[in-house]
Amino acid sequence: MNNWIEKQRALIDFSVANLGRRRGRNLGLFLAYTLLVFLLASVVLYGDALRREARLLLADAPELVVQRLTAGRHDLAPEGWLEKLRGLRGVRSVEGRLWGYYFDPAVAANYTLLVPSEAPPAPGQMVIGAALARARGLAVGDVLSLRSFDGKPYAFTLVGVLDADSELVSADLMLVNGVDFRAFFGVEPGLFTDLVLRVANPSEVRKLAEKVLERLPGARVIAREEMRRSYEAAFNWRQGVLLTFLSTLMAAFALLAWDKASGLSAEERREIGILKAVGWETGDVLRMKLWEGALVSLCAFLAGYVLAWLHVFYADAPLFTAVLKGWSVLYPRFALTPQVDVAQIATLFFLTVLPFVAATVVPVWRAATLDPDEVMRE
């Protein structure tokens, strides 16, 4: 065992000395490698963090949303539906929600106006999302005038800005009173945008959804799980688009790595011949090259991953914001929660380190299987 350790130590010593001999080449390779890992890891870390954030936010969402459909389109739901649904067994609570969209030509952005079920602002007052406050340059105490459904100006006094922690979903949000909402959009009393159901037993959600449809044949029922899947699909799609673009970079790197790592110069072939002539086995030469490849790729992997981590969790991923968060006028600003995912690190590792090590070893193996007497005959 000691013998084996001494041998590996000697091989690592030689590998380090060998890397130092071709400093420029190996540094270039290290930088290209680090860049590739940085980009890939940034996309993966950011995509995963967004999905995790969306999951956390949806954890508090109601299990079922019921919407009224007219001619296949979303329509306002009558108050009477609340009573029909309250009678269902397994329903813990039913509420009518009021929300709608407003296009603001001043900043060419869409806002979401919502009447919160708990502690809504007083009539004439409004609480807005942080991104919206930034976009309009608003602060608490300001008055915001918007054009109502009939073209008349409607003034709101800003009394609060929402916490940045919820910015992923609250970036464009305006919280208003129910009276203001109805007056602003012209929604008659007794009508709601949709209804939300909270269920006592989560395993009964599917059954309950069927019962809702039996009672309200013209309704559409959306389960929280479906919303979660929609978010996942959206982020997966965006991540996929980005990875597709990055695949060209990966291909370029593969070519570079292959060229740099595998293109054995006459000098390198001569050196392998010397090593074999002085008593190195083919396996020793391969082990030495494996150590060399492993040292470059592991260091680059570590550096790339740490840089990606800092880029995503501390610098808010400026390189990928537009693609991964979605194209929008109002970009949410929120702190993603750093989390270590072993499977994710392993996937990145196998995608980047193993191909490089293979690219290093294959040509060396070819050279190392030659007779060492070529050195004698030079």
Binding site: V278, G279, E281, D373
Partner: protein
């Protein structure tokens, strides 16, 4: 004892550039003696050294070391044997550029698994013995020809081999440096090591170092000195 029985070596067999470097050589080299292979360029001296030292395998025939056939050994065993038994001094020094003198000398011991400190101490001692004590950390590309050859000798000795194989050890040196190197080889011979030198440099043969001369031409042995009796009998 090293024995070669009907040893031939053909390169690129079956191709248009087929070339026989050594043809049906019988040879017996006794341990602890200095033997020289002499002959013009292309006579097969270097290939014969390679065959003796297990750097290459014969196309036909047998190479025996102390009665054991080494020509058919698997690579791993042959390499181990080569590392432990033979020390090579190559014609062009064959040092690795960019590495220090000390790193070059320690190279043959790297795969042996011997403790680093022990190998390093031996390498420094050898460099000291060869007058290179202050040059251990110098990169080999900055060495003079004489220094490079002495480093190559130190490297050949790091595993304390019984047999030293030196291919044209004075080929790139002036007369003074050649004499220095020959004196070092004579010391090795005096330590009881077997010395096999290939050369066509008259200085090597005039130095009184060589006890047996084997003349080669066109891959064959054409005459052998006094100690090559068994060879002559087979011839």
């Amino acid at each position: 004892m090293i024995e070669l029985l009907q040893v031939s070596k053909t390169y690129n067999a079956g191709r248009v550039n087929e070339f026989s470097a050594v043809r049906e050589v019988d040879l017996l080299i006794e341990p602890g003696r200095a033997t020289a292979l002499r002959g013009p360029s292309g006579s097969g001296k270097t290939t014969l050294l390679g065959l003796i030292g297990g750097l290459t395998r014969p196309s036909s025939g047998r190479v025996r070391l102390d009665g054991r056939d080494i020509s058919a050994l698997p690579e791993r065993f042959l390499t181990e044997l080569r590392r432990a038994t033979f020390g090579f001094v190559f014609q062009q020094f064959q040092l690795i550029r960019g590495l220090s003198v000390l790193e070059n000398v320690m190279l043959p011991a790297t795969p042996s698994g011997r403790p680093y400190r022990e190998v390093r101490a031996r390498a420094l001692r050898l460099l000291d013995d060869l007058g290179l004590a202050g040059r251990a950390e110098v990169k080999t590309q900055w060495l003079s020809g004489g220094e490079a050859q002495r480093v190559a000798i130190a490297r050949a000795l790091i595993n304390d081999p019984k047999v030293i194989l030196a291919d044209e050890p004075t080929a790139h040196l002036d007369s003074d440096l050649s004499r220095q190197i020959l004196a070092i080889l004579a010391d090795l011979r005096a330590q009881g090591r077997t010395l096999i030198v290939s050369s066509h440099d008259p200085l090597v043969f005039e130095a009184g170092l060589v006890e047996c001369v084997i003349d080669m031409r066109d891959g064959r042995i054409c005459s052998a000195g006094a100690s090559a009796g068994p060879v002559m009998e087979r011839l």
